[in-house]
Every structure is written in structure tokens, then in C-alpha cells.
Symmetry: C2
Subunit: 343 residues, 2 copies
DNA sequence: ATGAAAGCGCTAACAT
DNA sequence: ATGTTAGCGCTTTCAT
């Protein structure tokens, strides 16, 4: 065993060294005003000298407030989510909180376990990007008084705050844009069609197609592993004779572009193409990706702010359902003429 | 205030309801064997019924073990780091731990504050991707007995474990590969040249150039904001008449490709090009990116494993310095003929 | 196998 | 302005 040299100093050690009572030391620690300057200085000097670090665990136990929020996401690899996390952490830090971020891998069973460990650690609030759109899988695992904000996926009939984007509307806009280019056999591709976001985006797509009197063509798989180049070739390209594609999420786009590439097809060039979610190099890809860009920073800030408001009782009892706009970033892959100089 | 309806049940509540002593309930909770089956079942039934959740905070206070590790990274947006985090969390979870991951933004002052908050929360170990390569900024803020593993940046003269990659060697290989294509005015570009990783990579690059009797050309800036297209044009392209480029890190590559694009130049096509760190679409980009790929999953697993070994006293007292190989993924941007079918 | 008492390091409530 | 006494929810002696 690594012998921890000695126990770290406690507030009692500080008090003894500074010849004040424990409570006075505590007051100094918490910046209380009613302490004589002289004693306060003495206490602070001792703290500095012996390297005192307050034990946040002990404090939390007493105050019933851990100063920790939890955040559960589906997939850490998605840069969209990374950006959300970053903003959440900024807000958390500004409130003196830290965030424990874990991943559910999109699986409700893992999500449940993650919730359990977070609850045991007595988090003060939770930001959850649900693995499913079902309410009971979440509420069952949660103390009913834990402030909760859901993100991305909307959980219907839920009694907690949510932050989502204009899924339907943005899918509508994207489809319309492709229709405007004259494409008619536009195929929507994606994963996990039963998810709220998928359903909404598909609905938006369908609306646009119907309005234009074209037949909607939706190709979805249950798991991303099924997004092989063979599948794209057979189901999308040939099966639907696609003349344009709308990709409903990040992971689909990733596999789609790789799959096409393996087939010797250039996404966006040979097949016009709009995707939900941007990529780090989406603006440099050839052709540049036209995407529906989720306002990830805003999503992070809004959801965290909502959570802290709720934790501080600053909101109406009624849950808030914030919907943020996701805008179409028109570049080239949709068929628009880009401004790329040479090639 | 949101009135938390009622205090969550404690082990004492469980014990009372199950008509056993507090200690017996505790034994059941911790899976001790010396409890009569009948009582154990009763206790478990009560726990289930009243929705008891052990308070990890209280347990931690007593056991002096928080079951939390900290992880501080420079930049959450870098997909390489995301992948490391994911693996660290997997290892942590397998040990019954959670990880609190925070970002230093590459700034030592923020790093220091983050260390402080983590120490106050009594983390049992820390995985740190240092913002700088200086030892004292780290050790000053840290209890000297806290198990620590550094990642990515090596801190010289340090007495803790580290996990790094073959920076010098990989830079050497990458440069050699470009030289093999016949380029001689190869320019190494990057940020923060004083960092360990930068220095090592630059050294590797210089070695290769010298060995081939070509003049090394290094263009670095102190902050990524200075990586403008004007800078690339003036300093790299024209200033050095570069006929090939070696990008020393992810953020540089990102700005480089965008900058070139703004100049109407295709990275990899017009300017042959190898980069440290891969991109999500690096294999689909035209031309496909030739990269030095850091074994991020392995880095995550190794560093976490090292940390837990250290925490459990399973290592020799001497600090370990693990060096993992980063391999060259040869695609097209270096000038190699790709296998892309059409274009 | 079981329980009573002490205590982890801090803050809350009530003194003074 | 300062100190005293409890006690947060658990685990750890040390009895029995």
C-alpha cells in the first residue's frame, strides 16, 4: 500500500494552531464578516502555512448540497455534444459547481446505472440527454425532487424542463432546400427511428415532401453498425434511386460519407446531400458540407442555466420547454455553387 | 425555494423499518457475509420498498476514499482527447469510480484552480494533461501523496507516472516520408513551441531534415488565434516557399486547412501535408489526410490503469514512464497515390 | 452473528 | 464577536 504519509490537516488543526475555536475557523473559511480582523488573519495564515484544504465532502454532508451536477450524454465522440458539455461546465464553474459527465452509449440500461451512481453521490441536479424518449425509465431511477433538465431528446408527458432544437422545422427547411434544387427522390437516412429527434426530423422531411407532392423515402436502421457501404448502395442509392440525401444525424453522416467513399462516390458531388450536425472539417470538405447546425453552445448554456435556476427555485413551478433554432448552413454539398476558388 | 419534499431515507430508517441495528443494515449494504439470511432479506426488502440510496458522501467521509478520480485536459473539443476520456471513464467505471473531467484551456492558472477544486473534493487520483511542462506549477497545488498520472505532456524531473507517445520518432517518420516524396522545403507548423510535445516533434522533424541535409523550417505561433490565412500565406507558403507541410497538432491542422481554403489552396493537393492527430472525416477528405495517429484509446486505458495500480499500491515506488507508439497513417495528402476510385 | 458507541470533518443552532 | 453542542449518514472499533 502507498502509505499516505499523514492525514491532511483539518479545520480543527487550523483552529488549534491559530488558537481560536473551531467555529471561528469555520467562519473565516466561509468568509463570514463577524470575525475580528486580527483573528481572521491569524487563521488564514495558519491555513496557508499548513496547507489546509477544506474537505468538500464533509461540508456537503452537512449542508446536503454536494455542489456537483451530473450530466449524462449518449456519445462523447460527437463534437456537437462535446461543445454542449464545455458550456455546461462553464456555467457550472461560475456557480462553484463541478460536473460529472458520463456516457450512456445510448443504452437505457447503462443510463439507469449512471443515474444511480450519480444519485448516490448526491448530485444537486442532472442534465440528461436521454437514451430513449420514454418517461418511466428515467423517473423510476430518479428521486422525484431532483432538479432535472433533459436535452436533445424530448420526453413526452414529462414534468421536467427540457431544451431541444427545432428538429421538425429544420428538417423541413433542409428538405425544401433540396427540393428547390430540383431533386425529387430525396432519401432521408438515419438511425434509431423511434427516438424523438429522429421522429421529428422524419416528420419535417415528410411534410416537405408531401407538400411538394413527392413520395417520402425514409431509410433507417436500428444500429449504426448496420450503416455499411453495402446498405447504402443497396437500400439508398439503388433501392430508392436517390438523387439527393438528407442525413438525420452525425453518426449517420460519418458512415454515409465513408460508405460512399468506399463505393467510389463523392457525397455532395455525385449525390447532393444535407446533414444534421456539422463536422470539424465540414467547411473544408470537398464539396463543403451543407448542414443543419445545432446551436450547441447555446444548448449547453441554456440547459445549465435552466438547471441552476430550478435548483435555486427561480422558476415557475411549471416545467419549461425551451426550443432553440437550428439553422441551415448552406455550403456546397446540397448542390449550391460554392465560392471555392480552384479545385 | 423548491421545497425538497422530505429528506431521503437513511440507513437508520432502513434499520428501524427492518427492525435490525444500524450496523446490521450497514453489513447488508456492504455485502458482508456474517448476517443471517433472514435478516439480510428483510433489510434488502425495506431498502427496495422505501427507495433507499446509500449516501456516498457520508461513506467517503468515513472511509477517506471518495471513489472519484479527476481528469484535467486542455481542450475538450479535440476528438483525440475525447477518445482518451472515454476510455478513462470505462476503466474508472470498472473500478466503481467516476471521473470528474474538467478543462484547463491550456492555461496553467486555470489548471491550478481546477486542481484545487478537485483536491477539495478529495479525489483519490488525478490524470492530468498538463497545460505546461513545468513541474512546480503542478506539484505546488497538489498534496504530495495524491496519485498522479500525467498524459501527453511530459513533465521533466517529475516523480509521478506519465504516459506519452513517440513524439520525436513519429515526427521523424512523418518528415522522412515527405522527404521520400522528394520535397525539401518542408515546413513544420504548430502552436506553443515551448510545450514538451511541440519541442519533441520539432526535434524529430529537425533530425530528419538535417540527416537529409536540408534546412529545417519551423513556423510556430504562441496562440492558435494567430493561425490566420494571412499568416500561412505570408510566413509559410511564401515566406518559406514551402513545398510540403508538417502540422504539429490538431488545432494547427484545423486552422491550416481552413486558412488554405480561404486562399484557394487545397491542403494535400496543392501542398503536400502530414498532420499530427486524425480528424473524424480525415479519411474522406479530398485528398485523404495522411496523419500521425495517436493511440488515444490505449492512452486512456494505460493512464487510467496506471493510476489505479498506483492507488492500489500495485506498482514499484519508482514512477513509470510509459511511451506509446503513434503510427503514421499513410493516405493521400502526403503525396501518395490514393485508391479513391473517381473524383 | 449482532449491536452500542465513537467519530469522519465540517456546519447549524443556539448559546454567550 | 465568539464558543458550545449537536449532528449530517455513514463505517469502524470493540464489545457481546
Amino acid at each position: 500500500m502507498t502509505a499516505r504519509t499523514r492525514k491532511p490537516p483539518t479545520l480543527e488543526d487550523v483552529a488549534r494552531e491559530a488558537r481560536v475555536s473551531l467555529k471561528t475557523a469555520s467562519r473565516v473559511l466561509n468568509g463570514a464578516i463577524n470575525v475580528r480582523q486580527e483573528k481572521a488573519d491569524r487563521v488564514r495564515a495558519v491555513m496557508e502555512r499548513i496547507g489546509y484544504r477544506p474537505n468538500e465532502l464533509a461540508r456537503s454532508l452537512m449542508t446536503r448540497k454536494s455542489s456537483v451536477i451530473g450530466m449524462i450524454v449518449a456519445n462523447l465522440a460527437n463534437p456537437f455534444i462535446t461543445s454542449v458539455i464545455h458550456e455546461v461546465q462553464e456555467v457550472a464553474r461560475s456557480h462553484g459547481y463541478v460536473a460529472i459527465v458520463t456516457s450512456s452509449k445510448g443504452r437505457p440500461d447503462i443510463e439507469r446505472m449512471e443515474i444511480e451512481t450519480l444519485v448516490r453521490r448526491r448530485i444537486d441536479g442532472l442534465i440528461l440527454a436521454p437514451a430513449e424518449s420514454r418517461r418511466d425509465t428515467i423517473t423510476d431511477a430518479l428521486p422525484n425532487d431532483l432538479p432535472l433538465v433533459t436535452l436533445d431528446q424530448l420526453v413526452r408527458g414529462a414534468s421536467f424542463d427540457s431544451v431541444t432544437i427545432t428538429n421538425r422545422r429544420s428538417a423541413c427547411d433542409a428538405t425544401q432546400h433540396l427540393l428547390g434544387h430540383g431533386y425529387r427522390r430525396i432519401v432521408a437516412i438515419g438511425t434509431r427511428p423511434h427516438l424523438y429527434t429522429s421522429k421529428e426530423r422524419i416528420t419535417g422531411y415528410r411534410e416537405s415532401m408531401r407538400r411538394a407532392s413527392f413520395e417520402p423515402r425514409v431509410c433507417c436502421v436500428d444500429h449504426e453498425d448496420l450503416l455499411t457501404s453495402e446498405w447504402f448502395d443497396k437500400e439508398v442509392i439503388r433501392g430508392q434511386s436517390a438523387d439527393a440525401v438528407l442525413s438525420l444525424n452525425w453518426v449517420t453522416t460519418l458512415h454515409f460519407l465513408r460508405g460512399l467513399d468506399a463505393l467510389g462516390i463523392r457525397g455532395g458531388r455525385n449525390i447532393p446531400f444535407i446533414a444534421f450536425d456539422d463536422f470539424d472539417l465540414g467547411d473544408v470538405l470537398s464539396p463543403r458540407l451543407t448542414v443543419v447546425r445545432q446551436p450547441s453552445e447555446l444548448l449547453g448554456r441554456e440547459s445549465a442555466q435552466l438547471l441552476f435556476d430550478r435548483m435555486n427555485g427561480k422558476r415557475r413551478p411549471k416545467p419549461d420547454a425551451v426550443v432553440l433554432p437550428a439553422g441551415l448552413i448552406i455550403r456546397e454539398s446540397c448542390g449550391c455553387k460554392g465560392s471555392r476558388s480552384s479545385s
